[in-house]
C-alpha cells in the first residue's frame, strides 16, 4: 500500500482562513477561562482583531493566483477579493453585534435554553448581559465563508457550506426580544437549510458519478470531452444549484428569507444579508464560471427564468409588506435576482459587476439594518411600518440617512445602488442577455414603490403618539452606520476605486 502523502499547503495563501478559525477556537477558550464580567470586551476585541488580522493578510495576498492543498483551494482574484469583502462586511456586522448601549445586555439572549415567558426568562431579559458565545460562533461562520469562496472542489465547498451554515442557524435563535419568533426562524432556517445541503450533496454525488472526480478542473474537462449521456451531469448541476440558490435566497428557494430575517436578531440579519450573500454568490460564480462554463448555453435560460422570477416576485411581495425587516428581506430577494443577472452575464464583465454589486449592496444593507436597530421603543425595535410615520420630524438625521439608503436600494444615481445596477445591466447587455435587463428594469420600478412608501411614512406623514423614539446609538452602531452610508455615497460618486479592483480581480484560476 502506498504511503499517504500530505499535500503541500501554501500557508501564506490560506492564512486568512486559518487566522479566523484560530480566533474562533481562541474565543471558545476565552469563554471557558475569562471571568464573566470581562468576557464581552475580550470576546469582541478578539473577534475584531481576528477579522482585521485576516483582512490584513488578505490584502498582502492580493496578487496571489494559485491553487493549493492539492487543488482543494483556489486562491485567485475572485477568491481574494471576495474574502476581503466578507471580512470588511463582517467587521461592520461585528460592530453591530457588539452594540450594548441600545439595550441593556445587547441584542442577544443571555441563556437561550430558558423557556420563553417563564419567571427565569423575565429575570434574564431584564438584567443579564447577553451571550458572548456569539462572537466565536460568528467567527466560525466567517471562516467558513472564506473557505466557501475559495473552495476549488465540490467536497471542500460542501464542508465550507456546513461550516458557515451551522453557526448561522444557531445565531438566528439568539434574539433577546421576541424569542419565539427567533427560535421559529432558526428552526425553519435549519430544516430548510438542511434540505438544501442534502440537495447539494446529492448533486455532488451525481456529478462524481459522471466525472469520477469532484474538482472543478476535472468537471470542466469532462463536461467538454466526455461522450457519455450528460443527463447525470445536468441533474447534478441542477441539485447543486438548488443548494446554492437556497443560500442566495433566489425564488423559488426563498421562502425562508422573510421569516428568518424578521426573527433573527437584527445584527445577525445584517450579517446574513451582507456576508452570506457574498459567500453564496462567490461559490455560485465559481461553480458556474469554472466548473460548468462549458454548459452555459444549457443553464443560462433556466437560471435566467429563476433570475426573472426572483426579481419580480421579490419586488411584488415587497410591496405588500408592513414590517420593515420583512420588507428588507424581500428587497434582498429581489437584489439576489439582480445579482443573478450579473452572474448570467458571463465573462469578465459579469464577474466584475457581480462582485461590485455584492460589496456595494453589503454596505448599504448593513447601514439599513443599523437604522432598524435604532428605531425602537420600550418593547424593542419598532418593526411595523406604521410606527415609522413622522420619523423625519422626530429625528431628521436618522430619517435622512435611511432615506439615502432607500434611494440607494431604488437605484437613484449618486448612490452605489445605481452604479451596481448599471454595472450588472451593462454586463448583461454585453453578454447578450437583454431580456434579463428588461425584466430587471420592470422589477426595479415595482421595487421602488415599497421604498418610496417608507420615505413617505417618514417624511410626509405627521408623527403620531405611536412613533417610537430613535435611541441614541452607541459608538459601535454609529461607526457601522457611518461606514454603511459613507460607502454607499462613495461608491456612488467615485466608483472607480472599487471598479478597478473588481475588474483587476475578475479572473479565476482553473
Amino acid at each position: 500500500m502506498d504511503e499517504l502523502k500530505a499535500p503541500s499547503i501554501d500557508y501564506a495563501a490560506v492564512a486568512p482562513i486559518l487566522i479566523l478559525f484560530g480566533a474562533a477556537c481562541l474565543g471558545v477558550l476565552v469563554e471557558a477561562f475569562v471571568p464573566r464580567r470581562a468576557r464581552h470586551a475580550v470576546q469582541l476585541s478578539l473577534a475584531l482583531l481576528g477579522t482585521v488580522a485576516g483582512l490584513v493578510v488578505v490584502v498582502t495576498q492580493a496578487s496571489t493566483r494559485a491553487t493549493t492543498a492539492a487543488g482543494a483551494l483556489a486562491i485567485d482574484g475572485p477568491a481574494v477579493f471576495l474574502q476581503g469583502a466578507i471580512l470588511v462586511l463582517a467587521l461592520v456586522s461585528l460592530l453591530l453585534m457588539g452594540e450594548r448601549k441600545l439595550e441593556a445586555g445587547g441584542a442577544f439572549v443571555p441563556q437561550a435554553a430558558i423557556t420563553v415567558g417563564s419567571d427565569a426568562d423575565v429575570r434574564q431579559a431584564a438584567r443579564a448581559p447577553g451571550l458572548t458565545e456569539v462572537y466565536p460562533i460568528a467567527l466560525f461562520a466567517i471562516a467558513g465563508m472564506l473557505l466557501f469562496v475559495a473552495a476549488n472542489d465540490l467536497l471542500t465547498m460542501f464542508i465550507a457550506l456546513e461550516v458557515f451554515s451551522l453557526p448561522l442557524y444557531l445565531l438566528c435563535a439568539l434574539a433577546r426580544r421576541r424569542r419565539l419568533l427567533s427560535q421559529e426562524a432558526a428552526l425553519k432556517y435549519f430544516l430548510l437549510g438542511s434540505y438544501a445541503s442534502a440537495f447539494f450533496l446529492f448533486g455532488v454525488a451525481l456529478i462524481y458519478g459522471f466525472v469520477g472526480a469532484v474538482d472543478f478542473g476535472s468537471i470542466h474537462a469532462a463536461a467538454a470531452e466526455s461522450d457519455r449521456d450528460p443527463l447525470l451531469l445536468y441533474a447534478g448541476l441542477a441539485m447543486l444549484s438548488i443548494g446554492l440558490l437556497f443560500k442566495t435566497a433566489a425564488v423559488p428557494f426563498h421562502v425562508w428569507t422573510p421569516d428568518v430575517y424578521q426573527g433573527a436578531p437584527t445584527p445577525i440579519t445584517a450579517f446574513m444579508a451582507a456576508c452570506t450573500k457574498v459567500a453564496a454568490f462567490g461559490a455560485l460564480l465559481r461553480v458556474l464560471y469554472v466548473g460548468f462554463n462549458g454548459l452555459s448555453w444549457d443553464f443560462t435560460p433556466i437560471l435566467g427564468v429563476i433570475a426573472v422570477l426572483t426579481m419580480i416576485i421579490g419586488a411584488v411581495l415587497a410591496v405588500t409588506q408592513t414590517d420593515i425587516k420583512r420588507l428588507l428581506a424581500y428587497s434582498s430577494i429581489a437584489n439576489a435576482g439582480y445579482l443573478l443577472v450579473g452572474v448570467l452575464a458571463s465573462g469578465e464583465a459579469g464577474l466584475a459587476s457581480t462582485m461590485f454589486y455584492l460589496v456595494a449592496y453589503g454596505f448599504t444593507v448593513l447601514g439599513a439594518f443599523a437604522v432598524v436597530m435604532l428605531v425602537r421603543d420600550a418593547d424593542g425595535e419598532a418593526g411595523h411600518l406604521s410606527r415609522w410615520a413622522g420619523l423625519g420630524r422626530r429625528s431628521p438625521l436618522i430619517a435622512g440617512l435611511f432615506t439615502f439608503i432607500l434611494l440607494a436600494f431604488a437605484g437613484i444615481p449618486l448612490t452605489s445602488g445605481f452604479i451596481s445596477k448599471f454595472a450588472v445591466f451593462g454586463a448583461a447587455i454585453e453578454g447578450g442577455q437583454t431580456w434579463l435587463v428588461i425584466a430587471g428594469v420592470i422589477s426595479s420600478i415595482v421595487l421602488a414603490f415599497p421604498y418610496l412608501r417608507v420615505v413617505v411614512m417618514m417624511w410626509l406623514s405627521d408623527p403620531s403618539e405611536a412613533t417610537p423614539t430613535v435611541s441614541v446609538p452607541g459608538v459601535f452602531t454609529t461607526v457601522a452606520l457611518t461606514i454603511g452610508v459613507a460607502m454607499t455615497l462613495l461608491l456612488g460618486v467615485a466608483p472607480s476605486l472599487l471598479l478597478d479592483l473588481t475588474s483587476g480581480a475578475a479572473e479565476f484560476v482553473q
Binding site: A410, G411, F425, G426, I429, W459
Partner: protein, 508 residues
C-alpha cells in the same frame, strides 16, 4: 472664448447654496429667504456672463469642460451647451429668483422647516442646470434621475391636500421612464463601444432594430417627463398640489427636460428611428393638444387647469420638433422658452389668488376682479399670453410651429390649429368665471381678498410680463442663439427644409 469653467460652476454653485441654507437654524427663516434670493441672483449674473461668452454663430457645442469620472466606463463630467441648452439655462436662471420671491411665504404655514424648503429649491436648480449642461449621456442620466428627489420632497412635504399621493405618483411615473431610459443608456453604451461622450455617440452605426429600441427607451422617458399624451396623468396631480413656486418650476422648466432630451438625444443619436417614429410622435402631439385642451375646459381647479394647458402646449412643442423643419423646430424651442415665461406667470398668479382665497376651485371665485383688480388684470394678461395672443411671445412660437408644420404636413397643422380655438375657450372661460361676472358674496368674507397685489408680487410678475411683451415683438436675441442649434439638429435627422429662408422673415 473664455476659459472660465462656467458650466461646472453653474451646476455646483446652487448645490453649495442649498447646503448652506439647509443648515441654517429653523428659527431664522428670513435669513434663509434672503440668502437664497441673493444666491439665485448671483447665479443669474453668472448665467448672463455665460450668455455673453457664448458665440451665437460658433461651434455647436461650446464652453466644453471635461473631467474624468469613471475611466473604466468612459464616463466623464463633460459639460457643454448648444444654443438650445443655453436658452434653457437662461430660463432657469431667470425663473428661479422669481419663484423664490413668489414663494416667500409659502413654507411659513406648512409647519415644516422653512430653510429646507428654500434649500430644496436651490438643490432643484442645481440638478436642472446640470441636466441641460451635461454633454455626457451618463452625466445627463444622473441629473435626470436625481432631479426627482428635491421635487419629490417639495411636492410631498410642502404641497396641498393629497400631496403624498401626488408626490409618489410623480416619482414613480418619472422613475418608470427613467429606468427604461437606463436600459437604453446601457444599450447605447454597449453599442457605442463603451463611451458616453455625446459627440462620439452621434457617430456610431447601429442596426435598425437596435436603434429603434434605444430610441423608444429614451423617447418613453422624455414623453413621460414632458409629458405627452398618454403619459400625462401625473402632471395635473403633481401640478395641482405642488406649492405654487415648485409648481411653476415643474411646468416651467422640469417638463422641458423631456422636449430638450428629444432634441438633444433622440434626434441626433437615433436619426433613422426618429424619422421612423415621427408620425407616431406627431399624432401623440396632436392628440395631446386637443385632448388636454378639452380637459382644461372642464377643470374646476385652477392649478389643475394650468397643468392641462401645459400638456396642450407640450403637444405643440412635440409637433414642432417632429415636423422636422427648421422653422417648426425653432418654433418649438422658442415655445419652450415662452411657455416657461407664460405658464410660469400664469401658475404664479394663480398661486397668488389661491393663497388669498384659500381654495383653488374656480367656483369659489367669481367676480374677484372687484376685490383685486390689478391681480385680475395680471391673470387676464397671463391668460392671453398662454393662449398665444398676437403681441405676446407665445404667439411667435406657436405661429412658427404651425407654419413650419404646414409646409410638410398639412393635416397635422390644421388639426393643431384647432387647439388655438380651444385655448381661447379654456383661458377666457376661466378668466370669466374667476375674476369677472357677478361677485361671489363669499369672497367679501375672505380676509385675503381685500388685499390687492403687493409690492413683492409686483416684483415677481413685472419681469415676466416685460419679457413676454418684449419677446413677442423682438424674439431675435433668442432665435439667433437657437437657430444654428436647431439647424444642426435637423441636419442630424437628415431633414430638408422646403422653405429654409422663411424663418428669418418670421423672426423679424
Amino acid at each position: 472664448m473664455s476659459s472660465f469653467p462656467y458650466l461646472s460652476v453653474l451646476t455646483v454653485a446652487p448645490l453649495v447654496g442649498a447646503l448652506v441654507v439647509a443648515f441654517l437654524p429653523r428659527s431664522r427663516p428670513e435669513l434663509a429667504k434672503w440668502l437664497t434670493l441673493a444666491w439665485s441672483l448671483g447665479i443669474l449674473a453668472l448665467t448672463v456672463a455665460l450668455w455673453v461668452a457664448f458665440e451665437a454663430g460658433g461651434e455647436r457645442l461650446q464652453l466644453r469642460e471635461s473631467y474624468p469620472w469613471i475611466p473604466g466606463w468612459g464616463a466623464n463630467f463633460t459639460f457643454a451647451v448648444d444654443g438650445i441648452a443655453l436658452v434653457m439655462l437662461m430660463l432657469i436662471a431667470v425663473l428661479v429668483p422669481i419663484v423664490i420671491l413668489a414663494a416667500w411665504h409659502e413654507a411659513d404655514a406648512s409647519g415644516r422647516s422653512v430653510p429646507v424648503y428654500f434649500a430644496l429649491l436651490l438643490a432643484l436648480e442645481s440638478t436642472m442646470i446640470g441636466v441641460f449642461a451635461a454633454a455626457d449621456v451618463f452625466l445627463f442620466y444622473v441629473f435626470f434621475e436625481v432631479m426627482l428627489v428635491p421635487m419629490y420632497f417639495l411636492i410631498g412635504s410642502y404641497g396641498g391636500a393629497k400631496r403624498q399621493y401626488a408626490a409618489v405618483k410623480f416619482f414613480l411615473y418619472s422613475l418608470v421612464g427613467g429606468l427604461f431610459m437606463l436600459a437604453a443608456v446601457v444599450g447605447l453604451w454597449v453599442a457605442g463601444g463603451k463611451t458616453f461622450d455625446w459627440a462620439a455617440l452621434t457617430q456610431i452605426d447601429m442596426s435598425t432594430g437596435t436603434e429603434r429600441w434605444l430610441f423608444l427607451g429614451f423617447f418613453l422617458a422624455f414623453a413621460i417627463k414632458a409629458p405627452f399624451f398618454p403619459f400625462h396623468t401625473w402632471l395635473p396631480d403633481a401640478g395641482g398640489v405642488a406649492p405654487a413656486g415648485a409648481g411653476a418650476l415643474l411646468v416651467g422648466i422640469l417638463d422641458k427636460v423631456g422636449t430638450f432630451g428629444i432634441l438633444r438625444y433622440c434626434l441626433p443619436l437615433f436619426p433613422d428611428a426618429s424619422r421612423y417614429f415621427a408620425p407616431l410622435a406627431l399624432v401623440l402631439g396632436v392628440i395631446g393638444i386637443i385632448y388636454a385642451a378639452l380637459l382644461a375646459v372642464g377643470q374646476n381647479d385652477l392649478k389643475r387647469l394650468v397643468s392641462y394647458t401645459s400638456i396642450a402646449h407640450f403637444g405643440f412643442i412635440g409637433v414642432g420638433i417632429f415636423a422636422f423643419t427648421t422653422q417648426a423646430g425653432t418654433g418649438a424651442v422658442l415655445y419652450m422658452v415662452n411657455h416657461g415665461l407664460a405658464t410660469g406667470l400664469l401658475f404664479l398668479v394663480v398661486g397668488m389668488l389661491v393663497a388669498r382665497r384659500g381654495s383653488a376651485l374656480i367656483t369659489d371665485f367669481g367676480g374677484a376682479g372687484k376685490y383685486v383688480p390689478i391681480l385680475a388684470g395680471v391673470l387676464f394678461f397671463a391668460g392671453l399670453a398662454s393662449l398665444a395672443m398676437p403681441g405676446t411671445a407665445p404667439f411667435v412660437s406657436e405661429f412658427l410651429v404651425l407654419v413650419g408644420t404646414f409646409t410638410v404636413n398639412k393635416p397635422i397643422a390644421i388639426i393643431a390649429t384647432l387647439g388655438i380655438v380651444l385655448a381661447a375657450a379654456y383661458v377666457l372661460w376661466m378668466v370669466q368665471r374667476t375674476v369677472q361676472g357677478t361677485p361671489n358674496p363669499a369672497l367679501a368674507e375672505v380676509e385675503g381678498m381685500r388685499r390687492d397685489i403687493t409690492l413683492r408680487e409686483k416684483v415677481v410678475v413685472a419681469p415676466l410680463i416685460a419679457m413676454i411683451i418684449v419677446f413677442g415683438f423682438y424674439p431675435k436675441p433668442i432665435t439667433d442663439v437657437i437657430n444654428p442649434a436647431v439647424q444642426a439638429t435637423m441636419q442630424d435627422v437628415g431633414a430638408t427644409d422646403p422653405a429654409p429662408t422663411a424663418i428669418t422673415e418670421a423672426a423679424k
